[in-house]
Amino acid sequence: MNEPTPEEAAAALRAVHEGKEQVIKSALGSRWMWIVSGLIVFLYCAATDLFPATGSWLTWVLVAFVLVFTAGLRTRVGSTLLGRPVTVSSRSLPLPLKLRLLRMAPVFGIGITVGLLVLLLHLPHGGIYYGALAGLYIMFFGPRFQLWLLRRQDRD
């Protein structure tokens, strides 16, 4: 067997790392997926603000949508349909759920705090402003945040 030189071995190791990085970047999915998600959050918040009576069934529709969306992303066909050609393997980036949730906690914390502030301040149509902020965050910062999470997991 031809043993690779140290330079060839180092180059091969770099190729292995680059492969992982390519998968992480592609696992973010297409831009439109984030835009649609942001729009749905905005429309949900706006609808519950303007028509409070629809709140309870709209919440169920949103929960059902999130469940179908999440389940779809876990299948090959669903993932392809949603513009994600690859799914990151949990074996290659193992991280306990508790730690993953802990890393997401600051973003959810800010979201809950802003939501509570809107409620306490009794802002007229506060739900619409809140939905607009949350929707814009998902559209523009959602992919970046997921990329950051996956890279942190990779470093761990």
Partner: protein, 105 residues
């Protein structure tokens, strides 16, 4: 000591397997674009890898379009892990040898 894998000494095959190692499933088209190969060249490599039980191939349809997905098998993951350990040992040995015998200025 970890052993080098003959099949993975080929840089193209190593690139394919490295991509698949980080993925649960990957579309054929994604792998083709990532390793910059033609359809036929990638098919050839995938056939070699699947014959040796490194890669599993699944075919299906999304709408009316046929799709192919690739997955690294447990055997493939094990061989890659061992191959990486062997490569790290070579790189590490060269580094420690270099530290012991520094070049003259």
């Amino acid at each position: 000591m970890a052993e080098l894998d003959q099949l993975l000494l080929d840089p193209t095959r190593l690139a394919i397997v490295s991509l698949l190692a980080a993925a649960e499933w990957a579309e054929f088209g994604f792998v083709r674009d990532a390793v910059r190969l033609s359809d036929s060249a990638l098919s050839k490599q995938v056939t070699t890898l699947s014959k040796n039980d490194y890669v599993e191939v699944r075919k299906g349809y999304v709408g009316k379009r046929p799709r192919t997905w690739l997955n690294l098998t447990g055997t493939g993951r094990g061989r890659l892990a061992e191959h990486i350990c062997a490569l790290q040992a070579i790189a590490e040995k060269a580094r420690s040898d270099g530290a012991r015998h520094p070049r003259d200025p």
